[in-house]
């Protein structure tokens, strides 16, 4: 059944009625996410990666666990509130974000110029390891954008997402070799460019 529906979608011919029914369904807020059953401690994983600036404006938000849109925004606000009031000379770890996993989680962050990079991880991740990972992430961005700054992130959010996807997948670290990440990203960008050429599409820039 699911397969049949998917095939219909694959050819872009979803019946109008069905689509309306689906859209009506989407308009309703999704059902509340059931809490993780109290059983085992969570597996080592990154729950969310957030970038926001010194004023709390989000520049990237990636959640590896399903949250409603409202909750996502609340988490960003809460995290900004927690992180921004800390001095520069204190440690980069913080406990006590209430929304994202409660006491089982930690916020690990680094502050670069105008941007905060925050990784929300569960208690079994290595704090120091994540700090290094943030550094790798930022250095990779720096290589891809050549002297990355906040404006790059504002105008190329999709590219930042693509870079992140080559580094972290499903809340787990995928690749930490900067050169490898940059190579794969470049190859994919080249593939996109060649398509624009073939299809003669008016889009050079989305």
């Amino acid at each position: 059944m699911a397969g049949a529906r998917a095939r219909a979608c694959g050819r872009g011919r979803v019946g109008k009625l069905r689509r309306q029914a689906l859209e009506a369904r989407l308009a309703r807020p999704p059902p509340p996410w059931p809490q993780r059953p109290p059983g085992r401690p969570g597996p080592a994983m990154i729950k969310a990666i957030l970038i926001f600036n010194n004023h709390g404006k989000p520049r990237l938000s990636k959640f590896y666990q399903p949250y409603s849109e409202d909750t996502q925004q609340q988490i960003i606000r809460e995290t900004f509130h927690l992180v921004s009031k800390r001095d520069e000379n204190v440690c980069n770890f913080l406990e006590g974000g209430l929304l994202i996993g409660g006491s089982d989680n930690k916020l690990i962050y680094r502050h670069y110029a105008t941007l905060y990079f925050v990784f929300c991880v569960d208690s079994s991740e290595s704090e120091l390891g994540i700090l290094d990972l943030i550094q790798v992430f930022v250095e990779t961005l720096d290589k891809c954008f050549e002297n990355v700054c906040e404006l790059d992130l504002i105008f190329h959010v999709d590219k930042v997402h693509n870079i992140l996807a080559e580094m972290v997948m499903g809340g787990m670290v995928l690749e930490t070799n900067m050169n490898e990440i940059v190579t794969q990203i470049d190859a994919q960008n080249k593939l996109e460019k060649s398509e624009t050429f073939i299809f003669q599409s008016p889009r050079q820039d989305r």
Binding site: G10, G12, P38, I76, S103, E127, N177
Partner: protein, 825 residues
């Protein structure tokens, strides 16, 4: 229709918005344009529109109407479309919406695509948001890709497999054959993700763990890889600040930890390499410390040699002295983890740990505080307490409550003398009085009553403490209680411990009256003060008239609680003056009922009855008792129970006026018959008729009385009591009220009580009063079970309890077979 504006232009426009409202307006306008473009099934600009939606989504605007468009983009032939489509699907969709299932087929096709990047996108999306249905459908494809020689796909497939296993654990075996050659891979990305996959499998299933230990010889393989990493010279590809792939090293150390846990052979096989890593790692940079930290955790977790453990603790000791706050933080965290097993080794770093209490960083302070409490023992209690009291004095408000209860606990456990104990608690009350938990007051009062030889000393200290400052409510409450109880000792000035002070009766009354008047006093505190003044009427000789006057003034107080007290006390002066001295006699020494003493009777609201105590006699039917007895009961607690052999636990017949009837109920709710409860009388913070209404409200009006209650469960500080009621109209229904209480020092959260009965019964579980069982018996959860037992068989029940306690999830099963025959016959 004109071409929609580009993402870049949209962002530029939005950035010109000066107010939030202006921004919202712009976005709404753009959303309308996007919607109409979607309606027209525009294929050319779909990609651009979805990209704009994703930007708005990040800013917090609703974008769910783009979900179906993402699916269409995924189905497109172009990589550009697919890339945005998959990104949008990951951001806008999750497994809670059925729409995501429409992707399954597209993902399946893309997993078999000829371009590796399309396959990569599909793997990434599946690994991020695949639901269990999707994982079941696509696990075969993932397994195939796990065996490919393409390392770009292989590493993604490995993480995807982890996700599949997390969603559908029974699919784990499917990936077992593919793991065989994973560790022979040269590519570090693949090695890294493979170690993650193996870790997941080992952690999830003991069988897998045994298989990898014994059959696959995983430990030697990992040791070899780790050795190559630390021995190999500089390789520019994997170098991070001079260390070869620290991320991989950390992952391997973590897997070794799981393999070595509780296994002598595996631990033996990794001892050498751990020692090598611990001694050879360069620690001038964060990366080196990350590895060292992981090594220490592994050493502490496996069955390692004692020399190695000492080495590990010393590394942490060195971490504590590090300039980098992050390193100090992880050192404290890991010392906290090991303090139970290697107490003495950690004890050696005590002074450094105590120094961290003075750190400016709250994260470090909190860890240091927790660790300091873990290190307190009988030998160092005096010194440690001095530091912790100093910390309590100077720390941020958010620490005070935890710190205060930590000090109380430690003092109770290791107090070298009673005097020291009383001094310490008083010190806490004076420095952080407003932050202590509610049960501190009754606890301290009990402690003071029980140390008879200290009464004069204590009352004098307390009097001095509140003389200048009566803003700390708990302190004033304890002081008022003690002055009321031991006022005669205070005035007579016979104190051996300290230089006695000369106080007159009027001076004592002055201070109590100023507490009554003060704006800072809470209603509860005033209640304490008024009762204290009343008690002094039998202990003081020449000020009785003054006391009478004060009491009668408060007979018209607007505070209902105070007014009621005053009216009752007034009655005591007039109608029952002959019994006054007997009623107000000194409290007897209390026996400790539970480890937490009188906290059992502390109530946070009037909704629940006090947790019944073990010694509570079975509730008897309504007993007509004389009015005087009600009063006696109220004021005297236990010391006059001989007068009334069976304390009335149910509502007495209202022989007298309404008022006296209410008094009887104070006893009912405030002080369980057999538990002397000095604090309870002044402690009631709500007018008793409120309690009356809620606590003695029966479920049926026609209950048969007299079924004894039972303790159904009592383990790990969690106690569950069953009380029974049966309906006269339908005798086959038994109504069981469960009351769960918690005597430990931490709340139990997410408490769920489930019950099952044999098939011949029917059971209905009503919703519980709360899901949190507060610590220190400061409250209970009540839940009502109705059991229909038409055949009147012996009642049996199986109960299941789940709750979170001290950060870990607890679960327990129990059988209840000791139901009293009256509850089912």
């Amino acid at each position: 229709m004109p071409a929609p504006i580009r993402l870049r232009e949209l962002i530029r426009t939005i950035r010109t918005a000066r107010t939030q409202a202006e921004e919202r307006e712009m976005i709404q306008k753009e959303c309308a344009a996007i919607r109409s473009s979607f309606r027209e099934e525009d294929n050319t600009y779909r990609c651009r529109n979805v990209a704009k939606l994703l930007y708005m989504h990040m800013l917090g605007y609703p974008a769910h109407f783009g979900q179906l468009e993402c699916l269409k983009l995924i189905a497109s032939q172009k990589f550009t479309d697919k890339r945005i489509g998959y990104l949008g699907a990951m951001l806008l969709l999750d497994e809670r919406q059925d729409v995501h299932l429409l992707m399954t087929n597209c993902i399946k096709n893309d997993l078999n695509h000829s371009t590796q990047f399309v396959q990569g996108l599909a793997l990434c999306t599946l690994g991020c948001m695949g639901s269990s249905e999707m994982c079941r459908d696509l696990a075969g494809e993932v397994e195939k890709l796990l065996k490919t020689s393409n390392s770009y796909l292989r590493k993604k497939a490995a993480l995807c497999a982890v996700h599949v296993i997390r969603k559908v654990p029974e699919l784990m075996e499917m990936f077992l054959p593919a793991t065989k050659n994973l560790l022979n891979e040269k590519n570090h990305g693949v090695l890294h993700t493979s170690v993650v996959l193996l870790t997941e499998m080992c952690e999830r299933s003991p069988d897998m763990l045994a298989h990898f230990r014994k059959n696959e010889k995983l430990v030697p393989q990992l040791v070899r890889i780790l050795k190559n990493l630390i021995m190999s010279g500089y390789s520019p590809e994997h170098d991070v600040s001079g260390i070869s792939d620290p991320f991989l090293q950390v992952r391997i150390l973590r897997l070794l930890r799981i393999l070595g846990r509780n296994d002598d052979d595996s631990s033996e096989a990794m001892n050498d390499i751990l020692a090598q890593v611990a001694t050879n790692t360069e620690t001038s940079k964060n990366v080196g410390n990350a590895i060292l930290y992981e090594t220490v955790l592994t050493i502490m977790d496996i069955k390692s040699e004692s020399g190695l453990r000492v080495l590990a603790i010393n590394i942490l000791g060195r971490f504590l002295l590090n300039n980098d706050k992050n390193i100090r933080y992880v050192a404290l965290t890991s010392l906290l983890k090991t303090v139970q097993t290697d107490h003495n080794a950690v004890q050696r770093h005590r002074s450094t740990i105590v120094d961290c209490l003075k750190d400016l960083d709250v994260s470090i302070k909190r860890r240091a505080m927790e660790l300091s409490f873990a290190l307190v023992n009988g030998n160092n209690i005096r010194g440690m307490m001095k530091e912790l009291l100093y910390f309590l004095d100077s720390c941020e408000p958010e620490f005070k409550a935890d710190c205060a209860s930590g000090i109380f606990l430690a003092a109770e456990k290791y107090a070298p003398s009673k005097r020291w104990h009383i001094d310490t608690i008083m010190r806490v009350l004076t420095t952080a009085g407003s932050y202590v938990r509610d049960d501190a007051v009754p606890n301290l009062i009990q402690l003071i009553t029980n140390s008879v030889e200290m009464h004069a000393y204590t009352v004098q200290r307390l009097y001095k403490a509140i003389l200048g400052d009566y803003s700390q409510q708990p302190l004033v409450q304890v002081a008022a209680w003690c002055i009321g109880e031991y006022g005669d000792l205070l005035v007579s000035g016979q104190c051996e411990e300290e230089e006695p002070i000369q106080v007159t009766e009027d001076e004592v009354l002055d201070i109590l009256e100023s507490v009554l008047i003060s704006n800072m006093s809470t209603s509860v505190t005033r209640g304490y003060a008024l009762t204290a003044i009343m008690k002094l009427s039998t202990r003081f000789t020449c000020t009785v008239n003054r006391i009478k006057k004060v009491v009668s003034i408060y007979g018209s107080s607007i505070d209902v609680e105070l007014q009621q007290r005053a009216v009752e006390y007034n009655a005591l002066f007039k109608k029952y003056d002959h019994m006054r001295s007997a009623l107000l006699e000194r409290m007897p020494v209390m026996e400790k009922v539970t480890t937490n003493g009188p906290s059992e009777i502390v109530q946070t609201n009037g909704e629940t009855e006090p947790a019944p105590l073990e010694t509570k006699p079975p509730p008897s039917g309504p007993q007509p008792t004389s009015q005087a007895n009600d009063l006696l009961d109220l004021l005297g607690g236990n010391d006059i129970t001989p007068v009334i052999p069976t304390a009335p636990t149910s509502k007495p017949a209202s022989a007298g006026g309404e008022l006296l009837d209410l008094l009887g109920d104070i006893t009912l709710t405030g002080a369980p018959a057999a538990a002397p409860a000095p604090a309870s009388v002044p402690q009631l913070s709500q007018p008793p008729f409120l309690l009356d209404g809620l606590s003695s409200q029966p479920l049926f009006n026609d209950i048969t009385p007299g079924i004894p209650s039972i303790t159904a469960y009592n383990k790990n500080g969690l106690k569950i009591e069953f009380t029974f009621e049966r309906s006269n109209t339908n005798p086959s229904v038994t109504v069981i009220t469960i009351q769960a209480s918690n005597s430990t020092e931490l709340d139990m959260t997410d408490f769920v009580f489930q019950a099952a009965v044999p098939k011949t019964f029917q059971l209905q579980l009503l919703s519980p009063s709360s899901s949190v069982v507060p610590a220190f018996n400061t409250g209970t959860i009540t839940q009502v079970i109705k059991v229909l037992n038409p055949q009147k068989q012996q009642l049996r029940m199986r109960i299941k309890l789940t709750y979170n306690h001290k950060g870990s999830a607890m679960q327990d099963l129990a059988e209840v077979n000791n139901f009293p025959p009256q509850s089912w016959q």
